[in-house]
């Protein structure tokens, strides 16, 4: 059974007024435990609105979200419990820190869950370890740390709830390459060790191409493409039409093909492209 299933999800803003706008239009998808699903689409494609349905922040105008087979809006009390199961990390989460100490900030979610202090303590330590935070900073104010560090604290605050589905909206926005790598590593680490599903919203095609098991592309509120990265990046022209880019490796592969180098359609990581080119050089591939 998929951990989360969205069926014919539709969301209309300001329904019945002249400003009426369909932000999400009949989207259906499933997320399996342990999988990393990449969501891409330009600003205004509906992806932010879409992900807010998955933990019940928004109620769909039509359609249903099922978490482990149950309609999330069937019961009000369940809805709050769901928020702990489906962890949502917003863009620039470092601007949402508020507690006096790093520990208290990470513990906010677990405490809202009504856990006892020993359990809270354990979860905070575990979450901090996942994102590479040193326990020594627990008693410091979250506001005195650097931007990258604050983002880790915010991420730990969601991981401490031990969500079964972790949703991240642009977790690497504004970070330098080293910071990007390290945050993405933390997320993969959590997925691998907890078996949770991860939904990663990103503008970086290179990142999603490298990390995702499966991709969905949103355009004007609709599900435009979905499949493995290989399948999705096969549609380079369509993606460009939607105002998106393709990974650099795909672009280079396309340029090489124009120059008569025989490559399969679906090249999307630099690593794979390098491997293919080496094979060609050794005369193993058809060229």
């Amino acid at each position: 059974m998929p951990i989360l299933r969205a069926e014919h999800l539709t969301y209309i803003y300001s329904q019945g007024t002249p400003f009426q706008k369909t932000a999400v239009n009949d989207i259906s998808l499933e997320i399996e435990a342990g999988e990393l699903l990449g969501v891409i689409g330009h600003t205004g494609s509906g992806k932010s609105t879409f992900i807010q349905h998955l933990n019940g922040l928004l109620k769909p105008s039509a359609g249903t979200v099922y978490f482990e087979g149950r309609d999330i809006h069937a019961d009000k009390a369940l809805l709050r419990q769901l928020r702990f199961q489906v962890g949502l990390v917003f863009q620039y989460p470092e601007y949402q820190l508020f507690e006096e100490t790093v520990f208290a900030d990470i513990a906010f979610g677990p405490r809202n869950m009504g856990l006892d202090e020993a359990e809270v303590r354990e979860r905070v330590s575990e979450a901090a370890a996942f994102v590479g935070l040193d326990g020594k900073i627990f008693d410091t104010s979250p506001l005195e740390h650097s931007g990258g560090q604050k983002r880790r604290i915010a991420l730990a605050g969601v991981i401490a709830m031990r969500p079964r589905l972790l949703i991240l909206d642009e977790p690497t926005a504004g970070l330098d390459p080293a910071g990007r790598e390290s945050i993405l590593g933390n997320i993969l680490d959590y997925r691998d060790r907890s078996g949770a599903a991860v939904l990663l919203v990103s503008h970086s095609m290179d990142d999603v191409a490298r990390l995702a098991d499966r991709l969905v592309v949103l355009n004007r509120g609709r599900l435009a493409l979905s499949g493995t990265p290989a399948e999705v990046f096969d549609h380079a022209a369509e993606l460009r039409e939607m105002g998106l880019t393709v990974p650099a490796a795909t672009e280079i592969a396309l340029a090489l093909k124009e120059r008569g180098v025989a490559l399969p359609e679906s090249v999307y990581t630099t690593k794979y492209l390098a491997k293919l080119l080496c094979a060609l050089r050794e005369g193993e591939g058809p060229c």
Binding site: N55, Y95, E99, F108
Partner: protein
């Protein structure tokens, strides 16, 4: 939910009132309020009511829109009406426990309610037809002479227009932070009053911290664009009195004169 605040909203339009100089409209409002407080009998109130109706017609704002803006103030209106009802002097018409209602009380009560209604609707007409920016601009020019008394009029006007500029940004930010905290189990909507008040802390702290950061960045950006407090600024859009402004101010004077004359009736 935060996006539904309508108090003091501006409705863009192209009526005569919209096109008046903001200074004219501010002076008009000042004259109108003075007249309201001078009015002391039914005739004067009738005149003021007629003025308001005429004004809203000229601004093509429907009376319904004006009255709907009154809704949040209904409690105050009713409260005033009831209190004034019992404050009259003279022959009691009705006795309820220790309270007495007199003809004078009823008269007072009706006038008081009328006064509040006319006052608030008049002020709404100004904000409905004048963009906040034009309003600050007009205020700055009108208060210009105070600069001689070292009142930092331009700086205050700048502060006001920046505050207006950041209202939508802050509302958006509040929504964002609320959703983020809700996602971690914060509860803003149900529970006891004390619990709800407590839930506001996670909201207010990042909002304040964020506002300071914004203020700091904005100040730097303004400095980079050569802003010097108290400097000699020029303006791209120069306010100019037109014929309609002179006419409007003449009407305002006529209204004041009429109310003063009606006081003797």
């Amino acid at each position: 939910m935060l996006k539904n605040i309508t108090l003091g909203q501006y409705f863009p339009g192209d009526s005569v009132v919209h096109r008046l100089d903001p200074r004219t409209k501010l002076l008009w409002l000042a004259g109108y309020i003075t007249a309201l407080f001078l009015a002391n009998n039914a005739w004067a109130y009738a005149l003021m009511l007629a003025v308001l109706i005429g004004e809203s017609a000229a601004a093509s704002i429907r009376p319904k829109t004006l009255l709907s803006g009154m809704k949040p103030l209904m409690f105050i209106v009713v409260f005033t009406a009831v209190v004034n009802l019992f404050y009259g002097t003279g022959e009691p018409l009705l006795k309820i426990w220790v309270f007495t209602v007199t003809a004078d009380g009823i008269r007072r009560s009706v006038f008081m309610v009328l006064r509040i209604l006319l006052l608030v609707c008049g002020a709404f007409l100004l904000t409905y037809t004048t963009s906040p920016l034009a309003l600050t601009d007009g205020l700055e020019r009108l208060l210009g002479p105070l600069k001689k008394l070292r009142v930092p009029v331009s700086e205050l006007a700048m502060m006001m227009s920046i505050a207006l500029r950041f209202i939508p940004t802050l509302i958006e930010e509040t929504d964002k932070i609320m959703n983020a905290q809700r996602s971690r189990g914060a509860n803003f909507d149900t529970g006891k009053l004390t619990e709800r008040a407590k839930a506001l802390v996670p909201l207010l702290v990042p909002l304040f911290v964020g506002s300071f950061r914004r203020a700091d960045e904005l100040a730097t950006a303004m400095e980079c664009r050569c802003y010097v407090p108290g400097g000699n600024r020029t303006r791209m859009k120069v306010l100019k009195f037109a014929r309609r402004d002179v006419l409007a101010l003449a009407l305002c004077a006529a209204m004041l004169a009429a109310v003063v004359l009606l006081r003797r009736v």
